[in-house]
Each structure stands twice: as C-alpha cells, then as structure tokens.
C-alpha cells in the first residue's frame, strides 16, 4: 500500500496529465489561431473557437485541482515554491487571465461579427506565452535550485531563467500545439481544413520529437540530479521505448489519415512525457530538498483529501463524460451528420 503522500503525489500528476491533455490542447488551439494562414485562415479560427468554446472552462479546472491538492496536502512546499518562483508564477497568472478573458470576449463577438479583432489576437498571443511559463515552472521544480531555506526570497532567478527550464517551456508549448492540431483534424469534416491541421500536426510532431531528445540532454547539465534519476532508473528504457513507439505510431497514422488512432498515440506521447518526468522527480516535489513526505500535512488531512477526491471523481467523471458526449460526439467518432 503506497503512503498517503505518494497517493496524493499521484493525484497531482494525474490532474496535470488531464490538464495537459484537455486544457493544454485549448492553449494549443490558441497557438494555431495565431498562426492561422492562407485562404482558410478565417475558417480555421472559427473551427478553433467552436472546438474550445464549450469545454475550456471545465478543462481549466484541472489546474486548480492540482494547486488545491498541492496547498492542502503539501502546504510548506506550496509556500516555498510560491516564494522561489514568484516571478514566473505571477507571469503565468497574467497569461492565464489574458487567455481566458480574451477568449470569452472573443467568442462572445464571434456569434455576431465573425471577425477576429483585438480580443482574438490577445487570446492567441496569451495562448503562446502561457504554456512556456507553465513549462518553465515545471522545469524549475526539477532543476535542483529551489532553495532549501524555503521562505526567504533570495532574488535568485537561476532556478527558472536558465536553459533547462526554458527548454521545458518550449517542449510544453510544442506538445500543447501538437495535441491541438491532432484533435482539431477530427473537429471538422471539411477535407481542406483537415489537411491544414494534418500538416500542422506533422510539423509539431517533429518539433516535439526533437525537443524530447534535446531537453534531457540539457538536463544533464541544467538539472543533474533529475537527469541522474531519469537515466539511472530501471524504467527509463521501457518508458523511452513506449514513447518512441507512440511518436512513430502518431506520425504513421497521420500520414495514413487514420486520425482517431493518431489522436490516441499523440495523447500517449504526452502522458509518457509527464509520467517520465513525474517518476524521475519522485520523491521530490521541488528539488533538491523538498520531498512529498517532508512537506505533507497531517495524516488526517491527507486521508480526508483523498476521500473527497475519490468521491468527487465518482460524481464528476459522469458529468464530464456527458459534456464531452454532447459537444464532442462527432469529433470523437469521426462521423458527421449530413449537412444540408
């Protein structure tokens, strides 16, 4: 039986995985809005807004779940991380606010004016920057530079303004864009739009593949402890093999236009990246000194929190399923009704 704190560590990772797969793709959609080009630029933007509209707020909550588990289950770690990463977290918040509010205003105009306008640009720009900051934060946690003396701000920016966290930021951005492109193919039955997004999916697949080799190489010097834990582990080879298979499978199925299979492979890739990161990071929450067990709340709190999470999952997953079934039925099955 794993300890309470490691179960909660798993729940945080689980929330982050869901956030990446669902909310991440919404950010990726914004990126493709920014890079909408060619004769179908407007149609691309419409498609993106239609795909994101009903679900982005629900998807966004996975991030809040992760934060709430963090500050309830591991309050001293939350305090230390908030102090050490004050700057990138504040910037991340700014990005979250701008993306969400701008999208709501943009979508509001969409149904009457069909234009993109300033809100659209702001939404797209914020969608580009925010994933980088998210990745930088994640990278900083494993870089081994979160001060052990937790609550004094040293003004040290080396924990996040360094090649390794920045490379994780870029990887996050390309992974989110990749997911979005792959998902968006299935959001339409227009063959031209489909091929637009297939082309984008293939390019971003290449970027993700490249970066997932590049980032660990930088980690060797930028996050040596993390790198050691990653490459020295007995699971490393198998995760890497699965990852390579998924990446290859995604590319092949994109080329063969087997889009629903491509979607599964692409999602698997992202899950494996996060899983690999989480396994190598464990038992640390923030390297080099803060572990899950050293920062955990009292067992009574951890137990209740897990209980509530389990009960909440039982209540919420059917509701989320309902939401997806109503708005994503066609995109999930790939079958579109005849449009007269």
């Amino acid at each position: 039986m794993p300890s309470l704190s490691s179960l909660l560590a798993g729940s945080i990772l689980g929330s982050l995985v869901l956030y990446a797969l669902l909310g991440g793709a919404d950010f990726g959609g914004g990126v493709w809005d920014l890079f909408a080009r060619g004769p179908r630029a407007d149609a691309q933007r419409q498609l993106i807004a239609r795909a994101i509209g009903p679900v982005w707020e629900t998807n966004h909550i996975w991030l809040i779940v992760a934060i709430v588990i963090l500050f309830t289950g591991f309050p001293s770690a939350f305090a230390a991380i908030s102090t050490a990463l004050f700057v990138p977290l504040t910037l991340l918040l700014a990005g979250i606010v701008l993306r969400g509010a701008a999208f709501a205003f943009h979508a509001y105009h969409l149904h009457e004016e069909r234009g993109t306008g300033r809100w659209g640009t702001l939404f797209a720009g914020a969608s580009l920057v925010t994933p980088v900051l998210l990745g930088v934060t994640i990278g900083a946690l494993s870089s081994g530079r979160i001060p052990a003396e937790p609550l004094t701000f040293t003004g040290d920016t080396a924990s996040w303004l360094a090649p390794y966290p920045l490379s994780v930021g870029v990887l996050t951005l390309s992974a989110f864009s990749y997911l979005a492109a792959v998902y968006l193919i299935m959001e339409t039955d227009d063959p031209d739009l489909r091929s637009d997004f297939r082309c984008r999916a293939l390019w971003s697949a290449a970027a993700v593949a490249l970066l997932s080799v590049f980032v660990p190489v930088i980690a060797a010097s930028g996050a040596p402890d993390f790198y050691g834990a990653l490459t020295g582990s007995d699971w490393f080879v198998s995760v890497a093999m699965f990852y390579a298979t998924a990446a290859l499978g995604a590319c092949v199925s994109l080329v063969l236009s087997a889009y629903s299979i491509a979607r599964i492979f692409a999602a698997a890739q992202v899950v494996l990246i996060l899983l690999g990161w989480g396994l190598a990071q464990f038992p640390f929450l923030a390297r080099p000194a803060i572990t899950f067990s050293s920062s955990a709340s009292s067992p009574s709190t951890l137990r209740l929190l897990l209980l509530f999470l389990a009960a909440g999952a039982v209540l919420l997953f059917p509701a989320i399923f309902l939401l997806m079934r109503i708005f994503k039925r066609e995109a999930l099955s790939g079958r579109y009704r005849e449009t007269p």
């Binding site: 909550i61 709430v68 500050f71 309830t72 969400g100 004094t152 989320i320 939401l323």
Partner: protein
C-alpha cells in the same frame, strides 16, 4: 512595512474584483433558471429570450470570475506564504470541495450555453439548476475558509505549529453558519438588485417593453426576498462577533470605551487620537440591546485591547455604516415593491418607482464590498484571528508594487471590457411589445 501595505492592498484589490464576478456566479444562474422554468411552463418566448440573454451575460461574467479566482488561489501563496504554510493543511479542504463545485458549474454552464438545441429541454433546465447549485456551493465552501480565519478551530498550537488537526472541525468552525448564510443572501440581493436596476433603467426609456417588464419582475423578486432577510441574517453575524471578535465589533461601532448600556452610533467618524466617535447620532443603549439582546449588557470598547491589537476603526466603522444603510434602503424598496405588486400593480411601471429601482441597482454590490471591508479590515492585525499576524504572514519578495500595478491595470481593462459587453447586450433590447396577450413573438 510598505511592502506589507502593498501586499495587503493587492490582496484587497484582487478580492474586491473577484467578488463582483463571484456574486454574479452565485446569483445570475438562479435568475436564468427561473426565466427558463417560466418559459417551459408557459411557452412564452419572452422568457426564453430572457433566459438566453441572462445566460450569455453569465457566460462572460463567469469566465472573468474563473480567471480572477485562479489568480487568487495562487496569490494566497505568492503574497502570504507563511499563512498558507500554516493553514493549507487545516483549511485547504473547503477549497478542494470548492474545486468540485467549480467543475459542476463549468460543465453545466457549457451545456447550458451551447446546448440549447443539442439537449432535451429537461436536461437543459436541469443543467441550469446544476450551475446554480454549483455557484452557491462554491461560495459557501470558500466562505467557510474565511470564517475559519475569523474563528479558527480544528487544531492546537505546539511551538507555533498546528497539531491535532481536524479539517472537518476547522471547516465547520463557529462562524461558518452565520457567514455563509449572510454571503449567500448577499449574492442574491446584489445580483437581483443589479439586474433589476438595469432593466428598470431600460424601462424608463421604453416603458411598454414586455421583455424588460418580465425581467424586472423576476430580478426584483429574487433580490427583494434576499434583501428583506439580510438585516435579520446580519444581526446573527453581529451578535456572533460581539462574542468572538469584540475588537472588531468595537471598531465597527466606533466604540472606544467599555461600557454598560452602550449606545448605537449611526454615522459619525471615529477619531483615534481623542478616542471618540464624532458627529454620530446616538441611540441610547441600542448597541447593547442589539449585540447581546439586553440593553444593560457590557460592550467592550477598543481601549480594552492593547493598542497593537486594534483594527483601524475609521474604514471599518464607515464601511459598516454604508452596508447597513444600503441594506436598509434595499429592504425598504423590497417591501414597497411587494406592497405595490399586491395592491397597485401598474405603479410598478411608473416612472418614480422605476427610477428608484434603477438608482438602487448598485447598492447590493456596494454593500458586498463594504461588508468585506468590515470583515477583513476588522480582523486586523490578525490574518488568523488571535493566532497569526498579517505582518508575519507576508512574503519576503520585494518590489510588490510591480505586480500590484500590473494586475490593477489588467483588471481595470477587463472590468471595463466586460461592462461594455454587458451594456451592449442590454441596450440592444429585443422588441416584445405589450400586446395584451403577454408575449407573442413579434413579426
């Protein structure tokens, strides 16, 4: 010291902004569900149009509420790391429950907004109900956390660290009932009056418009009932404070000396140097009567507390006066509308009454802001009453003026844009002329 002030100022700004959208998130879904229920029952298209428009407004407000709330959950740690280190494990649970309430809200609002012709009427209406319940619950959960800061419970102190933690006892702390009840009612009153005010304003221009008439009726009902209950509920809060946070009560009432048969001061400005409250109308023994239900009971004054444990009585007293004055005005207006609805229905659409409703539109949300000033500034210098001082809780990060200025500008822009969208939504009023039959589709 100034960094502390900047942190407090930033926190106050972030909350003052979020609470507007939070109030809308609790109140608006109720209005929109009532409108849709009326549509399903009567089949009159005017109610459907109303539900759709209210829902669109709710959608925009909800999005701003969601992002500004996300900012808060991070800022609690960014600005007050020691507070979160201490209390996260004790009071984090209601925030986790709040998270589930958000899920319910967001999921069903998505279905509600985008699903008018994708789901069955029954499921659609039920989704609206789920949004309303989610909104109310999220408010209730988060206010239990604030109630805990006022009346900490569910732990013991050992060397300055919390031990024997019981998260359930912390959540159901002594203040949770009065505070959540008051906040929930306040959200209904504030949303109801704001919406009624807007539609009354539109009726002043276009008195025959059935759309605005129906809207006014629903909003005034919801807001009015809540406004009548609020003073009753507020009395429970005040009596609770009299027992548990006497320094806060003294600041609220401008009471410096400890005395039996203390007077109730209406208006006035507390003067800390001379320790008197000037220019107030005093009602003899009324404060003792209200606070303890006994005109001769003893009310503690600020002078009974060490000087460094005083909240600043000036803003606390003034904010309290505004809340009570606005609350009294709103309940009088609510009683008047009930009377008119019962006896003189047509007067509800006469200019003087419409004018009064339009003028009272902002009072609800202003009372909410004032009430929170009372709660939060009245708790000073403590962030957790009697346990942790605000000055201890603050972050060691310097240069807080930069994020403060940045978020202020950002929120100003967001607030203006949201207001502009809502204004457009309202001013393009649909034509539902009064045709005697009550709302057949025009054209």
């Amino acid at each position: 010291m100034t960094e502390l002030l900047l942190a407090r100022g930033q926190m106050a700004m972030l909350f003052a902004f979020h609470i507007i959208f939070a109030v809308a998130g609790m109140g608006m879904p109720v209005l929109m569900v009532i409108a849709e229920a009326a549509y399903r029952k009567t089949g009159k298209p005017v109610y459907q149009e109303l539900a759709k428009r209210w829902a669109r407004g709710t959608g925009v407000l909800f999005a701003v509420g969601a992002v500004s709330g996300t900012v808060l959950s991070f800022e609690l740690g960014l600005l007050w790391p020691r507070f979160m280190e201490f209390s996260g494990g004790i009071i984090g649970l209601p925030f986790a429950l709040e998270g589930f309430a958000f899920f319910a809200e967001a999921i069903f609002l998505g279905i509600y907004l985008y699903g008018w012709d994708k789901v069955s009427p029954r499921l659609h209406l039920l989704s609206g109900v789920a949004v309303a319940i989610g909104g109310i619950l999220s408010g209730v959960f988060v206010v239990t956390a604030n109630a805990w800061m006022n009346s900490p419970a569910g732990f013991a102190l050992l060397d300055g660290k919390p031990v024997n933690i019981s998260p359930l006892a912390a959540m159901f702390n002594p203040a949770w009932k009065t505070e959540t009840a008051h906040m929930t009612l306040a959200a209904f009153a504030a949303s109801g009056f704001a919406v009624a005010g807007i539609h009354a304003f539109m009726l002043l221009r276009d008195r025959e418009n059935l759309f605005h008439r129906r809207a006014l009726a629903i909003a005034l009902w919801v807001g009015g009932v809540a406004a009548i209950l609020l003073p009753v509920s507020g009395d429970f809060n005040a009596r609770f404070i009299a027992r548990h946070q006497p320094a806060k009560l003294a600041a609220m009432e401008g009471q410096f000396r400890t005395e039996r048969g203390a007077p109730l001061r209406i208006g006035g400005i507390p003067d800390v140097n001379s320790q008197t409250t000037r220019f107030a109308i005093e009602i003899p023994r009324a404060l003792s009567l209200l606070a303890f239900h006994d005109p001769d009971s003893e009310v503690k004054g600020l002078s009974a507390f060490p000087r460094d444990e005083w909240p600043n009585p000036v803003p606390v007293h003034l904010a309290f006066q505004f809340m009570v004055a606005f609350g009294a005005t709103m309940s009088v207006l609510a009683l008047l509308s009930a009377l008119l609805a019962w006896r003189r229905r047509e007067w509800l659409y006469h200019r003087p009454f419409l004018f009064a409703v339009a003028a009272c539109g902002p009072l609800g949300i202003l009372s909410v802001e004032a009430g929170w000033v009372v709660t939060e500034l009245g708790r000073q210098p403590w962030v957790i009453h009697g346990v942790m001082r605000t000055a201890y809780a603050v972050t060691t990060v310097g240069g807080l003026a930069i994020p403060f200025a940045f978020f202020s500008l950002l929120y100003l822009a967001l607030g203006v844009s949201a207001a502009w969208l809502i204004r457009r939504e309202v001013s393009a009023s649909p034509a539902f002329p009064l045709d005697g039959k009550g709302g057949s589709e025009p054209g």
